[in-house]
Subunit: 199 residues, 2 copies
Amino acid sequence: MRQFVVIGHDAPTTPDFSLDDLAGAAGRLDVLCRCVTSAFFLSHAIREDVRVHLVLADEYTVTFDGAELRRLNPDERSTAALIRKALGEREEAIGHVPVETSPGVSLTRRGFEPTLSAVAAEGTVVQLHEDGDPVVDVVPPTDPVFVLSDHHDFGAEETEQIEARAEARVSLGPEPLHADHAVTVAHNYLDTDGFSQYQ
Amino acid sequence: MRQFVVIGHDAPTTPDFSLDDLAGAAGRLDVLCRCVTSAFFLSHAIREDVRVHLVLADEYTVTFDGAELRRLNPDERSTAALIRKALGEREEAIGHVPVETSPGVSLTRRGFEPTLSAVAAEGTVVQLHEDGDPVVDVVPPTDPVFVLSDHHDFGAEETEQIEARAEARVSLGPEPLHADHAVTVAHNYLDTDGFSQYQ
């Protein structure tokens, strides 16, 4: 399974936001939505063996599970509507027990550290870093976990938590990418098994 | 220069569409908007040496020029607003003379064939095809031109026109990708010079 944890530093924690201003008042929810699209969509299929965890302002995590997903569309607005629906049911999320808010989408009352901790237990955390090993030189782990950030850099504490759990440090290329583009490149690298089939 | 021609088979040709339904009534304009975002955005910069040509229903072409672009944001809605603005000035586009509708964005009254013909004269057309040569085995041309399609496959005539001009046939990987994800992977490949710096 491939998993992506995406931190939305300015993301909303209530459903009181407009779908008309995702890049503004909704705290750059557009980036998180594009990460979901990049993580799941192939031309005519959904990647079932993928999970995406969107961490909203270190307070809630919305998880998309490819094996269970229904009603996901590739555009930002409809994905944002799923997130808004999840936040609308936040009162149901008690402790760390997730509540399913639409098929394949669940909300948990937890921030970055507990989410990363849970996901790291299921896979191998790969840190993406400009000074990391070129991705093509790294043997891909079976169950990679990538951690990404919205339009902000990781905070010092977040970086510490990632580094404490990372088993590899990888660079996807010489140019710094948006989170959703990094998801696409990471998938491509894994799809081609580090391009080894070609070499 | 890297150029991307994207065919929007169902895209609107008038500005009478709502920004609230890009994936529906606006004929999957969301895909074209994400292609623009993938083509231009780096983490904290715009790729200046890039042009994107969106072919709208074989009738108009909206061109984004990275060297001149202002006011481009990464979300779908704001990019769609630039396209809508361009279509609002379609009466000004006479013959094949482009009209600039916002900084770095211009509209031309021409469909796929004349657009491809003009762009092909400035670069090397690379056909993306599942049976093509693995991208890592191909020496990237200096001025590549990639042709992509929205959620529909290319029509027979479009394929013919591409094949007549293509100087290489390349596969980006084993999985069939959405157009915007293909743009991201193509950029990554070119950024790393076919990954040769790593090999």
